[in-house]
Every structure is written in C-alpha cells, then in structure tokens.
C-alpha cells in the first residue's frame, strides 16, 4: 500500500530525559516534553491537551499554559477528547497567537481541513504553531470505557492508574498493583463507530507524530513530518530534551507500524465500500467524495 505512514523527514525511537514527565506519561513522554520545550522557547503560547474531566478517565480539552498544566494532562485517555473544539477559543478567550494542539489522526485531519477551509475559524489558520499527532487504531465513547473497565475487567475506574492498548490486548493497571488484560476481541464492539471509516493510523498530517508501536516499552516512535516539525524537533534534541535511537536499531521497528497501518486502512476501506450498498439500493454517506 502506498504511503500508509504518510510523508516524513525522519523517524526515530525516543524518550524524554525528564524523569518527572516520564513518571506519568503514556510512553516516552514525547508530547508533554515537546510542548514543555515549545512553551519555554516561545514556539507556542499554550497547548490544547486532554485534561482531567468531571469523572475518572473522562478527558476535558484544556489550554495548558504552563508545564504543570501539561503534566496534569499526561497519559492516554481511551475516550473522546474533542481537542479541536478549543482551537478558536484558544486564540480568543485565551489570547494565544501561537497555538499548540495534540490530537488523534482524525483531529489532525480536522486541523488541516480547517486551515484550508476556515468556514468558522476566523484568524485561526495562521496561529496553529505546533500540531502533534498521536497514533490511533480506534477510540471509544466514555461509557464503553466504563463498561470495559468496570464490567469486563472488574476494576473501579477511579482506582485505575493507566490504560494501554498494546501487544494485542487492552491493559488496565490499578493503583494497588492489579493488572488486567482483555483480548481486543472483547473491546472491538465498544469502539466508536466513526473510527471505522478512518484511513489514517499514524497522524500523517501532524507536524510531528508519535505512538508506542514500533519502539520498546517506555520509548516512543516519532515521525518528524515537515519543516516546522523538523525545526522544533532538532532544537529540542539539541537542548537535551530527548534520548534517541535510530528506528532501524530498535525492535519491533517500522515493520510493525507499517503492518498495523495497513491492517487498519484495509479494514476501514472495506467498511467504506460496504457502506455504499448498506441499504437496499441506498448508500450510507461517504465523506471522502
């Protein structure tokens, strides 16, 4: 398949050198570290991240304007955080001229569509200063996470310290040290339907995108995609923010990323094709034409 990993200039395996960031970040702390660095350097005035919400593990988009706020938003929440909903607000109520934003591949698509077609995003396109993408196979409604963690894994959501999808399983870790894993066979039906037409796994349109897949535990795979991403990444590495290894020297490496990207895209292309004849002589809408 052509270009399933999108365009990129460099790809490395990396992790933050900041112990505090690494403590609660999902993988190599790439997102939190990059935003912290960009804030310090004045590359961004603030970043839209998935902050804590009203219920445990329910994210609420927030504009982080300090390292403490970035730290509070570390870690993956496997349910929807509509980060893009803050993109105009960040430039208005928060007064940011240089906005950072983290998001899933679909949210990066939303950002780029919005830069080309800013129907309601007045003065926003030029203020998007750093768009960080996170790999994403699928996402879940909040209530699915409640059901998976409380019913299937038998844990109280407020006791959960981390969730992760990896090695073919959905992992739930608790404060008291319990580890429960669910086969993805169980989780599939709880996925958000909108994910099943998604054709991007590794955030092809971000300035820099990152995920766990491809790198060893605690490390992240990082694609530096465009000139802007390269400038920020090079500066951050030069400032000692990251340890890096050539992606060719880590296991399982890009081969696995490519395989998963292909699997996702192929499966979802089938879904899209199926939608064309879903009813009797009636199609479901195809957003891509």
């Amino acid at each position: 398949m052509a270009n399933e990993l999108g365009n990129y200039k460099t790809c490395v395996s990396a992790r933050s050198t900041d112990k505090e960031i690494l403590k609660c970040s999902q993988d190599g702390g790439i997102v939190t570290q990059l935003f912290a660095f960009a804030l310090e350097e004045g590359i961004i005035d603030g970043a839209i991240v998935a902050g804590p919400g009203e219920e445990p593990w329910r994210p609420q988009p927030m504009v982080a304007m300090s390292k403490d706020e970035l730290l509070a938003a570390r870690g993956t929440k496997y349910n929807i955080s509509p980060n893009v909903s803050f993109i105009k607000e960040a430039t208005r109520s928060f007064g940011l001229d240089k906005v950072g934003i983290v998001g899933t591949p679909c949210q990066m698509q939303a950002i780029r569509k919005g830069m080309l077609y800013p129907f309601g995003w007045r003065d926003v396109p030029d203020k998007i200063a750093l768009a960080l993408g996170i790999f994403c196979m699928e996402n879940f409604p909040y209530q699915s996470i409640v059901q998976l963690v409380e019913d299937h894994a038998g844990q109280k959501l407020e006791n959960v310290s981390k969730m992760n999808i990896g090695k073919g399983k959905f992992w739930v870790y608790t404060d008291r040290g319990a580890v429960v894993d669910l086969p993805l066979k169980v989780t599939h039906k709880y996925e958000q339907p909108g994910c099943h037409v998604c054709l991007d796994y590794v955030a092809n349109l971000a300035d820099i995108s990152t995920g766990s897949v491809g790198s060893p535990d605690g490390w992240s795979t990082v694609f530096v995609r465009n000139a802007k991403g390269e400038t920020v990444w090079t500066k951050a590495v030069a400032a000692g923010c990251f340890e890096t290894k050539p992606i060719e020297q880590v296991k399982p490496g890009l081969e696995l990323v490519t395989k998963l990207a292909n699997e996702k895209i192929t499966k979802n292309q089938k879904t899209i094709a199926g939608r064309a004849s879903f009813g009797a002589g009636k199609a479901l809408r195809n957003p891509y034409i």
Partner: protein, 290 residues
C-alpha cells in the same frame, strides 16, 4: 473610482516611491509585469442583498491581502459604496452577500440579473447560502414593514459556489477569490488545483438551501461518521454547540442556521487530494498575496 480603488492606488504609490532609487530597467520590468497582471485580471462584483454587511467587512478584513487581490488579480466592477456603478455589469465572479427578499421587486430583479451577468455566482455567508438570521424575520421593520419573506439566493437562481458561515472568515473568502482567479486564468495545473479545492463548495451549493445544527445529527452522527474532533463547536459563531461525552450537542434555539458547523466538519466532506497538500496550497495562496 470607488474607495477601494483609491486605497489600492495609494497603497501602490507609496510602495513604488519607496523604491524610487531602483534602476530604469527594473521599472520597465515592473511596469510590464503590472500591465500583464492587469490584462489577466478577473472582474469581480459584490452584490449586496439582505445581509448585515458583515460578509463585506470580513472581505475587507483581509487588509493588505485584499489590496493585493484587487491590484493583481481582480478588478472590483460592482459594489455598493465601493464602486461607483449603479447597474449590475457583466462580470466573471459575483460575490453575493445576503438573502433575497421576495417582497421586494428590486431585490428579485437584481439577483436574477446577477445570474445573467456573472459567469460564477458565489453565495458568500450564511444568509446567501441558507437564509441564516434572515430566516427568523417576521417583518415589521421600518421603513418597509411588509418585507418579511427572505429566501437564500439558491431558491431563486442557480448558485455555483457556497461559502457558509456567519460571518464567513476573511481567510475563507480570500482563499476562494484566489482559487477563482486560478480557475479562470491559471495554467492547466492551477486550474486542476482550483477545481479540486472548489469542488466541495460547489457540491454544497448543489446540495440545497437549508442548514442547521441538525445537519450534524442527520448527516454525520446518524450516518455513523462522527469521531468527536470538535471542529463543529469551534466553528459555531453563537456557541450553540458543546460536546457531551465527546459528541456535539446543539442548543437548537440558539442556532442561527449559518451552515458553518457542517461545512467545517471533516466528516461532511474531506478530499485527501486537497488536504494532503495543505502546505503547498497554503503556500501558494500566501505567496500569491505577498
């Protein structure tokens, strides 16, 4: 000569006087360039139907960019208060702001005449596309209290391109102007780019004259396409959209029917050919306006 023409002249006078020490060769060169670009300009008119002039202000909020457009790419041949022309002339592109009051013969004649005279009709803003705030009119306003029936222009004439939103953003109007220029005057490659950029906006125009928060329900969420990005909420001018558990909820009483949310949604239309090239396209637009 209208206000903008004057502004544009002034702007370029000061621009050239700053370079008064440049050699004669350069001057000739730039003169030739100027002549060439003038010859290649498209003609554009701003047709004001029943709207609040917010769309026009948005166009003007491109500041220097607008002057560059008027200088290099487009002659403004019609526009209330802007160009001293009484009757709708022939033009390449008509930017129509506002809906049409069908109780007002003058407006009805004018929108029909616009269709006859313009090669491309662009509905600029929610009112022209979807009625927007004018949908809520019940008449009674002075000095024409009997004027109460306002239709999106697409209910009276064929419209080629839609720019939804209230107000449509300066950047969006600018992008469409540049693309319209490339479509009409560009080389084959530029025409192809402009066509793929404008196609979704033509599809919106072909799709109909009703818009509402409900489009997100019926055409995105009900269709199994929403992934909770939040683009819609960020686009809404009246903050009618919030996200509950990741999905858009609309306060439908607040919705003014501008169509921005649906157009902004990446799951309403999304062209990989266009969006994957966002850097090159934005680079070209910014370059054109330098």
């Amino acid at each position: 000569m209208g206000l903008l023409g004057l502004l544009s002249k002034l702007f370029h006078k000061s621009g050239s006087s700053a370079k008064s020490d440049t050699g004669a060769v350069k001057m000739v060169e730039s003169k030739r360039k100027e002549e060439k670009s003038v010859a290649d300009k498209i003609t554009v008119g701003h047709v004001h139907m029943s709207g609040c002039t917010g769309c026009l202000v948005s166009l003007a909020d491109n500041y220097g960019g607008l002057l560059t457009i008027l200088d290099r790419y487009a002659d403004l041949v019609y526009g209330l208060t802007l160009a001293d022309v009484r009757h709708i002339p022939k033009m390449d592109v008509a930017l129509v702001e506002g809906s049409c009051c069908i109780n007002d013969k003058c407006s009805v004649d004018e929108i029909k005449e616009t269709r006859e005279k313009a090669a491309v009709v662009v509905a600029v803003g929610g009112c022209a596309c979807y009625g927007n705030i004018t949908r809520f009119c019940r008449g009674g306003q002075q000095n024409q209290p009997q004027h109460e029936s306002f239709l999106p222009i697409g209910d009276l004439i064929k419209v080629d391109v839609y720019i939804p939103g209230c107000a449509p953003t300066p950047q969006m109007i600018r992008n469409v102007c540049v693309m319209a220029y490339l479509l009409l005057k560009g080389n084959a490659e530029q025409k192809a780019l402009a066509t793929s950029y404008l196609k979704p906006l033509m599809d919106l125009a072909a799709k109909g004259t009703e818009a509402c928060f409900c489009n997100l329900m019926t055409e995105v969420i009900n269709q199994g396409l929403c992934m909770g990005c939040g683009s819609c909420a960020a686009a809404c001018p009246v903050r009618a959209i919030t996200h509950e558990y990741g999905k858009p909820q609309g306060q439908r009483d607040l919705c003014i029917k501008c169509g921005a949310c649906y157009a902004q949604c990446p799951r309403s239309f999304y062209s990989f050919d266009v969006v994957n090239n966002y850097e090159a396209i934005l680079g070209a637009i910014n370059g054109a306006l330098q």
